[in-house]
């Protein structure tokens, strides 16, 4: 049996209200709240990046697990905001966790689904016997250009999953992935902000791939919406996952437990994984989960998990739940946000 053996999440402490962003750009302060159902987003501090957040989330996962980091044989870090263009985040993470040097560690990039690509790849390594334990992390300090529609949701956060064949808390029942060449959202090398195709990012990109992957998986498994207790979808905003779920036949009650975007925004490579972590925080043994990521460019990974009785054992003190991480937010204004996110051109920059 292969599956998730532990997990950890990390959300930076700072938040900005979407109304505050709207105020600066002269937009309706309630628009993002009403149309996207996103109230605020998480903002990484000046000393944080995708790597430090990956370390935080992974440390929580290891603390829950109680295992030896040296037993982790493979590490994947998925992000579209790796601090270095060349020099892996994964090698820093491996050293920081004490998993090095006898470990295969590598960075992945596939927009918002690089984290889940790492998750399935780590599980495959474990299942094939090439690794004892694997660690997959999705971590991003997502950037939206100032004034762009993305700025209301592009947020920071990380989620880490340890996978293995012993002490499994969520068994992998099945997996299905879809990929097409769909240019809905991209960032060229060397450019600070991504560009996107506006409404093209919806129907022909997000919905097409999410629905295709979810339907593909359910067909493979011979299941339907009624077989799952929770459905988690990539969440660029609150509206999209609710709408995707509705079109697949999932009632809102099965989707809402996995929603985090309303308070912390879209954490990109961590987005669906953060929703999965929130569901695992409260899931009961025997409950079944459908989880589908989406990465622009574009593709979706769909997972089918069943929670096992081992889940109780990893609910340890000293590791915050996703809700606890969400609740500890401190709001900053746009000026502080601009400073923290490096949006201010400093005098010594060339």
């Amino acid at each position: 049996m292969v599956g998730i053996v532990s997990y950890g999440a990390y959300i930076p402490r700072f938040r900005i209200d979407t109304g505050e962003i709207a105020r600066v750009w002269g937009e309706d302060p309630n628009r993002a709240k009403k149309s996207l159902l996103v109230e605020s987003k998480a903002v990484a501090g000046p000393d944080e990046d995708a790597c430090t957040m990956a370390v935080e989330a992974s440390r929580y996962a290891i603390r829950r697990w109680g295992g030896d980091p040296a037993d982790i044989d493979v590490i994947y870090v998925g992000s579209e905001s790796h601090p270095y263009a060349v020099k892996p985040t994964a090698s820093i993470l491996a050293d920081a966790l004490g998993a090095s040097p006898h470990v295969m560690a590598v960075d992945l990039e596939f927009a918002c689904k690089a984290g889940t690509a790492g998750l399935i790849s780590a599980m495959a390594m474990v299942k094939s016997g090439m690794a004892r334990f694997g660690l997959a992390v999705g971590s991003d300090t997502a950037q939206g250009a100032p004034g762009d529609a993305l700025e209301y949701t592009a947020a920071s956060g990380a989620a880490a999953f340890i996978v293995g064949s012993q002490g499994v808390i969520a068994r992998l029942n099945g997996f299905h992935s879809v990929t097409t060449d769909t240019p809905d959202f991209w960032r060229r090398a060397g450019r600070p902000y991504p560009r996107h195709g506006g409404r093209f990012t919806g129907q022909p990109a997000y919905f097409k791939h999410i629905l295709m992957a979810a339907r593909g998986l359910m067909e493979k498994m011979g299941t339907g919406p009624e077989d799952y207790d929770f459905a988690i979808f990539h969440q660029p905003n609150t509206k999209f996952p609710l709408s995707a779920g509705k079109r697949l036949g999932f009632p809102k009650e099965k989707i809402l437990p996995g929603i985090v975007v309303n308070k912390i925004g879209n954490t990109y490579a961590a987005s669906m994984l953060m929703g999965l972590a929130r569901v695992l925080d409260k899931a009961e043994p025997g409950q079944r989960i459908l989880a589908v990521s989406f990465g622009s460019g574009a593709g979706s990974d769909a997972f089918d998990f069943t929670v096992t009785e081992n889940i109780e054992a990893i609910r340890v003190d000293g590791v915050p739940t996703v809700d606890e991480l969400i609740e500890r937010g401190r709001f900053v204004d746009y000026a502080i946000y601009a400073k923290y996110r490096g949006k201010i051109l400093m005098g010594d920059e060339e």
Binding site: R31, G198, R199, Q203, P204
Partner: protein, 389 residues
């Protein structure tokens, strides 16, 4: 001059066609029109295609030959020509097609219109559409297309008082009408409050005062009236067709609260058709901005100067009124795939006059007017349709 009839009509659904290219849309509409006429593409003697900006939107120009080729008749070597008059391209294409048949030069002529707008982002689209105004004297100085029409509306309100609410009734009516049009871009009711509280675009226009960016295509087939009488039970004549122009830049026009091209084109078309404005059973007007139908009603002589808005308020233009306005849902709710729009209005007019308009049928409609505006009114095409009893 020969009299001209419409023997076939067809259109695609209007909306966001992510999976279809401009050629697929054009061919889809064309084939529907041919099927409706019961003829094949090999029967065509000429093709006229209305299109504003395929080159900028999709990189594809040379639309005439493209349509002929992808209709499968490249080897027939018939003339196929694109007509461009900005947002009035469709109406202008009908006028050209009308003349080809009326002159006796060609018998069976397909008039198509197509636009694929969603291949570019919103900012790019705005930039392309600004080409409908005077680029050197208006657009280069920062005037967007909505801003220009907004100036007309502001001047109108300066002269005649606030008509914000009456203007808002037009998009509300259009969305209501579109509920019964399966080809419409939107199937969603809105209220006057929704319009007034939607995000501002250019004072006095808010988002819901303005037609959307749509993809779509429409086609009609023209033939001599005698041919139509011989071959079809119900005959709809294209009884009058006129295009008039005006100063392209608004600053040169003597007045901002009348569109001179409206007056000239409609007079000419009515004279040609031997019809009068009071004979009309329905209108399909160019409501790219909610203000435009109001000034048009006045230019057509349906309302006195300054009274166009009260006509809207009185309910005459609603589906159960005396003169329904755009049963299709208009540009606002049926959609506005620029080059297709005017031709799509003709498709609606013909369905209405044949009694084939389903739930949005205007009872026993006999005479219809369609209006296509290019730019801020520098080109206006008026086409009049009449069903033979």
């Amino acid at each position: 001059m020969r009299r001209v009839a419409v023997i076939g009509v067809g259109e695609t659904k209007y909306g966001e066609h992510w999976e279809k290219s401009i050629r697929e849309l054009a061919v889809e509409a064309g084939l529907r029109a041919l099927e409706d006429a019961g003829i094949s593409s090999e029967d065509l003697d000429a093709i006229v295609g209305g299109n504003m900006s395929a080159g900028s939107y999709t990189g594809q120009d040379h639309i005439g030959a493209l349509i002929a080729d992808f209709s499968g008749i490249a080897d027939r070597h018939i003339p196929a020509i694109r007509v461009e008059a900005a947002c009035g391209s469709g109406g202008a294409a009908i006028h050209v097609g009308f003349n080809l048949v009326a002159s006796g030069m060609y018998d069976i002529v397909l008039v198509g219109g197509v636009e694929k707008q969603t291949d570019v982002g919103v900012d790019m689209s705005k930039e392309i559409l600004a080409g409908a105004s005077d680029r050197e004297w208006e657009a280069f100085f920062g005037a967007t297309f909505p801003a220009l029409v907004a100036m007309m509306a502001k001047r109108y309100m300066y002269e005649y008082g606030d008509i914000r609410e009456q203007m808002a009734m037009i998009p509300v009516m259009m969305h209501e009408n579109a509920m019964n049009n399966p080809d419409a871009h939107f199937h969603r009711r809105i209220t006057v409050d929704d319009v007034l509280n939607s995000p501002p675009i250019a004072e006095p226009f808010h988002l819901l005062d303005v037609a959307p960016v749509s993809d779509g295509a429409a086609a009609i087939i023209l033939a001599p009236l005698d041919y139509a009488r011989k071959n079809y039970d119900t005959v709809v004549e294209l009884a009058g067709s006129a295009v008039a122009t005006d100063y392209i830049g608004m600053h040169d026009r003597p007045s901002l609260i009348t569109l001179a091209a409206n007056v000239h084109a409609s007079r000419k078309a009515f004279r040609m058709a031997g019809m009068e404005v009071r004979d009309l059973d329905l209108l399909e007007l160019h409501d790219a901005f909610s203000f435009l139908p109001i000034v048009t009603l006045e230019d057509l002589g349906l309302a006195e100067r300054g009274k166009g808005a009260s006509l809207v308020e009185e309910g005459i233009l609603s589906m159960d009124g005396d003169l329904p306005l755009s049963p299709s849902g208009g540009l606002k709710a049926k959609g506005h795939p620029v080059g297709a729009t005017g031709v799509g209005q003709a498709v609606e007019a013909v369905w209405q006059l044949r009694g084939q308009a389903g739930k949005r049928q205007v009872p026993d409609a006999e005479k219809a007017l369609i209006q296509s505006i290019g730019g801020t009114g520098a080109t206006i095409a008026i086409n009049l349709f009449r069903r033979e009893k």
